[in-house]
Amino acid sequence: MRPLARISEYLSVALGRYSYGMALAALAAAAVSGVMSLSDAVGQMVKTPGATPRPAIEAGLMFSHLAFGMVSMSMAGLLAGELASEALFHLSLPVRREEYALAWLLTAVWVPLVLEIVSPAVPLAILDPRLITGIAVGPMVLRAAEDSLMFSTILWSALLKRKGVVTAYGLTAVLFLPAIVGLVLAITGVIWGAPPAALRLIFYILPATTGTMMGGLAQVSDGAALIVCGSLAIVSQLGLVFWFRNRLEVS
């Protein structure tokens, strides 16, 4: 059996009973974030009839980020639970540990990420395919890089085999971090006028969140932020595969 077929077979058993819930959550999140970008596009159409609307999807993306961040956290929580029990059964079958890692990266990082990025745009395409051409790609790419890193760190927390740890970390990263970052940036802005150098690292690690909050004030080029954040995400995910292959023990 080929590795991809093994991964698919494994996921169908490991996640079978959660698949309907996941599909419903994805549909609901996609609908809400789609409506948010749609209302912006329709607003532009009303204000300037005839002109090609350039829908701003940052708000839709932010909501989508929160929704699929929760999905990613839930999936990582499932891995934490499985590592403490059923992994013994699955990994006693002829499955490679790196295939097991890829299955969970797919479930907790890549699928939520793709749905998160695509969902605000789908309703626009359904309404009028030309609206898609008006979407600015930059915010979507930055959001993809940032969440690729964030979701993979949530998956790392599952290696502690405790759902509580995953939930605490996941909620902090997805829900509270944007608020904390906003607060810190606001305070430093008031005190020093601009964030100190050490804090500027946040612009590279959370380019989409800080970009949405501060707009052009972030004073960091999108390209540089994308390279740093994207590289960290790749290192984090390759690290996970490497860790599963060389260190994952099931007792």
């Binding site: 093994r6 029990s85 079958l93 002829p94 490679r96």
Partner: protein
């Protein structure tokens, strides 16, 4: 090359040394008991052999492969039943078996074969979460024998089962041994259970292998042997004849009773020899037998002998 070769195996969990220096070999086609008290390192050894734990030191090979580096290849040819298995509870027995069959790249007819072999047919549509412990253990065995593995690793196959379920599972293992002829490594701390199943044993305690080999080798090394208890006329004359035989180690006379101790493996030869003297001495064989695993365990591991009161008949019950 033996089916399983373990050399100087060590495993540490933090400050706890689960395995200190474990070395043994398991021959192809043998049924070997891995015997020791709780916490001896039996489960850790099993998990290393199937590639679930990484050894801290030493070397282990299963069918010539390193279980940690080539785990998926080892698991393709090795079936394992864990002491405390946990299966996805929401799926049916049949779906779980189909999954394991597909992962091994086998045809779906294999599901019917193993279901029939372990007696799961009547519960195949039931959810795994609704199975009794006995059926869960049967499911574990079914999963272990999918694809007719060359090696079966059974970790405490009767743990936490009631006596009836225990007898059923032991009979099942006995059937598998006879019908499939696979190499088996069976761990247990209930020694008498394994007596009818095993032809070799590995004694382990506190993370160290104390001794291993075939039951005859072990009996020879540790001074346990087979015996025949006779009643005869002119016992002293008969005793002097018997002691001259090569395979007789000692003869004790007590009135008309004679206790003959023979080398392990020579019991049948001794019985034939004794039956020849039947007419001359009007002798009667009162009992005969081999030193059992339990005696060996007592001599090798020492201390309290576990499961002394748990003699389970294998082959009798259905």
């Amino acid at each position: 090359m033996d089916a399983i070769e373990v050399e100087g195996l060590k495993k540490r969990f933090g400050i706890v040394e689960a395995l200190r220096e474990v070395s043994f070999r398991v021959e192809h086609g043998s049924a070997t008991g891995l015997l020791g008290p709780n916490g001896a390192g039996k489960t850790t050894t099993m998990k290393i052999l199937v590639g679930l734990l990484k050894p801290t030191g030493g070397r282990a090979t299963v069918l010539g492969m390193d279980p940690w580096r080539e785990g998926h290849k080892v698991r393709q040819r090795v079936g394992v039943l864990h002491e405390k298995p946990s299966y996805p509870k929401g799926v049916s027995v049949r779906r779980l078996l189909e999954y394991a069959v597909r992962i091994r790249g086998l045809d779906h007819t294999e599901v019917s074969r193993v279901t029939r072999l372990v007696g799961l047919a009547e519960v195949s549509s039931r959810r795994v979460g609704a199975l009794s412990r006995g059926y869960l253990q049967r499911l574990g065995l079914a999963l272990a024998i999918i694809g007719e593995p060359e090696v079966l690793l059974l970790d405490e196959p009767t743990a936490n089962l009631d006596p009836a379920a225990r007898i059923e599972i032991l009979n099942l293992i006995d059937t598998l041994k006879r019908e499939l002829g696979v190499t088996m490594l069976i761990s247990s701390h209930i020694i008498p259970e394994l007596e009818p199943l095993c032809d070799s044993a590995i004694f382990i305690a506190e993370g160290r292998v104390l001794d291993y080999g075939t039951l005859e080798e072990l009996a020879r090394r540790h001074g346990t042997e087979a015996y025949i208890l006779l009643e005869a006329e002119r016992p002293r004359e008969l005793a002097s004849k018997l002691i001259s035989l090569d395979f007789v180690r000692s003869v004790e006379v007590d009135g008309s009773l004679i206790r003959v101790r023979v080398l392990p493996g020579s019991l049948e030869e001794a019985e034939i020899e004794i039956s020849r003297a039947k007419g001359s001495y009007r002798l009667r064989v009162l009992s005969s037998g081999r030193a059992g695993l339990l005696d060996l365990y007592g001599r090798v591991v020492g201390g309290e002998t576990p499961g002394e009161n748990l003699r389970v008949p294998v082959g009798g019950a259905g």
